[in-house]
């Protein structure tokens, strides 16, 4: 039961029979010699190949340095298939890659063609520990049990088990934060309402400043077949608070589409459209990707994440994909100044399902 010996690393005994000291025994199978073993010319050729590869590696190292010094970092070059690429990166990558590749390839070629390839026997050790080692471990355990008195003091044993059982409770208690926000509101309620409410004007989403001076949209602006990503006017109040801005955007973002009113087969409430303009949540009901892949001829809304497809001409119903709920619709109308407004908040939580929603 000796440990790994140095003989594993020593050269192979090329002759059959008992190995010389420091050599592994040759396996008792038929060995087929290589061309380089029998033909000295082939061996010379292999030698030149290996040396040639090492020389090529040196050549590419020199080329790398030359490319590094001489090629402008911002220069570009056209390469077929690849297109327009950075000349410096391309040259550095190719030369460095070739330099290391030819060191490896030369080493492999050397080993395959010139180093001995006779089959040898290498003994492996057993995986289990020696009997005396396992016995000693068992004895140590028994001694610890005896000396600690674990079996003799039942009250200590029970209180220790009790302490260990109670220790994870603080970790569980902190999970409460997941459903009770610091502000005191239940997250299920937070998720269930957005900034939309009766009379809230609809403004187009045109970036972070959400449109200074934009007061709203009039129905005539939106053509049949049109698509507008939009937000509630109240989003402007969060202009200087990016966190709040993103929070509200994540729930209140909608898309407005307009179709010929005769093409609307159903919607989620009577008269929820305005002259063919329909407002739907922009947040997929599957896992909450923002979606606006609207095909204006089929009225399909496709989520790029998992291919859930909603039919906006038919209540936003799911016609394909993993989404379990239809796309929430926002009832809209116009105010006395003629701007498009919401007529209420969403009637159901937007975005993916959550525990309390069922």
């Amino acid at each position: 039961m000796s440990s790994r010996s140095d003989k594993d690393l020593l050269p192979v005994n090329p002759e059959p029979g008992d190995p010389k000291p420091g050599y592994l025994p040759v396996a008792n199978i038929e060995h087929k010699p290589r061309v380089t073993d029998t033909d000295p010319k082939a061996a010379r050729r292999a030698e030149r190949q290996v040396a040639g590869m090492f020389l090529l590696s040196m050549f590419f190292v020199v080329l790398f340095v030359v490319a590094y010094v001489s090629i402008d970092v911002y220069a570009t070059v056209y390469v077929p298939v690849l297109g327009v690429v950075g000349a410096s990166n391309l040259a550095l990558g190719l030369t460095f890659g070739a330099a290391i590749f030819f060191i490896g390839a030369g080493a492999i070629q050397w080993a395959k063609k010139l180093m001995p390839d006779v089959e040898v026997v290498q003994e492996r050790h057993e995986m289990t520990s020696a009997k005396d080692e396992t016995d000693e471990a068992a004895a140590t355990y028994e001694r610890g049990k005896e000396e600690s008195g674990f079996a003799r003091y039942p009250i200590i044993r029970r209180t220790l088990l009790g302490a260990l059982a109670l220790f994870p409770i603080p970790l569980v208690v902190m999970l409460r934060d997941l459903w009770q926000s610091p502000a005191g509101a239940n997250p299920a309620e937070i998720l269930s309402r957005t900034e939309w409410r009766e009379g809230m004007r609809i403004v187009p989403d045109i970036g972070h400043d959400t449109g200074d001076g934009v007061e709203g949209m009039v129905p005539a602006e939106i053509p049949v077949g049109g698509l507008v990503s939009a937000l509630p006017y109240a989003i402007k109040e969060t202009k200087d608070d990016p966190a709040a801005n993103f929070r509200e955007r994540g729930k209140a973002a909608i898309i407005l589409v307009r179709m010929d009113p005769t093409e609307i087969r159903s919607q989620q409430g009577e008269g929820w459209d305005y002259q063919g303009i329909l407002a739907y949540s922009k947040i997929c009901t599957h896992v909450g990707c923002p979606i606006a892949l609207y095909e204006h001829r089929t009225h399909h809304l496709l989520c790029p994440c998992h291919q859930s497809t909603f039919d906006l001409a038919d209540s936003g119903n799911v016609i394909f994909g993993p989404a379990a709920r239809r796309m929430p619709q926002l009832p809209i109308g116009v105010d006395e100044e003629g701007f498009l407004v919401a007529r209420s908040d969403f009637q159901e939580p937007v975005g993916p399902s959550f525990w309390e929603r069922g």
Partner: protein, 261 residues
């Protein structure tokens, strides 16, 4: 000659000869047909009549004799000159074969012919006009603003770097890497195929110019790392590594493992 006789029996020779013959015939035809004189500028009325003639020849079988639409193609009444120019100049119309989507291809009409057909369709009912050079001038546009607008309005289908992407049932949003400013403007204005319409009220000219400036910036941007892989990002790059590079590594491992002869 023995050399040639020997080579003649190789399978690739037939393909090479066929390719050569096609090149000669096609090249010869192109050289001859290019010598035809360009159609001279036409007056407005003759332009409309010429457009109608071309329409009846090339488009009416699907869109109807009065452009009223048939089962095979939508009505063209009110689509405007911009729509006709976009569809025909990019080669999408006439379609080569019915399918989920009309792909862009080499257009078969001259500029004059396309303008004539546009004029005829525009004469049927008012619709979006072909954008003027002034509308297409994006030299003063803000590329960063264009990027924001692109991500809000376009990236959902055309992908954040304009590489295009899949839609439903075999339809797709094409790559924007070869689109000209005029094509981009006209596409936004008219909503070709299933693309929604972004008219000048919902997306004013200045915003359209910003979007065009952003797409132009994307088109000009080199790919310093080499293969851009459609600029689709880490998922595609990872997939490329897992397939192409792993295949190369396995090939190297096999070479290392093969016993030398």
């Amino acid at each position: 000659m023995k050399f040639l006789a020997h080579r003649r029996r190789k399978p690739w020779v037939a393909a090479a000869l066929l390719g050569f013959a096609l090149l000669v015939v096609g090249g010869g035809y192109a050289a001859v047909s290019n010598t035809a004189p360009a159609v001279a500028a036409m007056g407005s009325q003759t332009q409309v009549e010429e457009g109608k003639r071309l329409y009846l020849e090339g488009c009416s079988s699907c869109h109807g004799l009065e452009a009223q639409g048939t089962q095979n193609g939508p009505s063209l009444i009110g689509v405007g000159a911009a729509s006709v120019h976009f569809q025909v100049a990019t080669g999408r119309m006439p379609m080569a074969a019915p399918g989920a989507q009309a792909p862009a291809k080499q257009d078969i009409y001259t500029d004059e012919e396309i303008l004539a057909m546009s004029a005829w369709v525009a004469s049927l009912a008012p619709g979006p006009a072909i954008p003027t050079a002034e509308q297409l001038d994006f030299s003063d546009a803000d590329v960063a603003e264009g990027g924001v607008l692109f991500r809000i309005n376009c990236a959902q289908c055309h992908q954040a770097a304009g590489g295009g992407g899949a839609l439903t049932d075999g339809k797709y949003a094409p790559s924007l890497m070869n689109a000209t400013p005029q094509e981009i403007y006209e596409a936004m204005l008219t909503g070709p195929q299933n693309m929604p319409i972004f008219n000048d009220e919902t997306l004013p000219t200045g915003e359209k110019q910003a979007i065009i400036a952003y797409i132009d910036d994307l088109q000009q941007a080199p790919s310093p790392g080499g293969l851009s892989l459609g600029r689709l990002g880490p998922v595609v790059e990872g997939l490329f590594m897992w397939t192409a590079v792993f295949a190369a590594l396995i090939a190297a491992a096999v070479w290392i493992g093969i016993k030398a002869r």
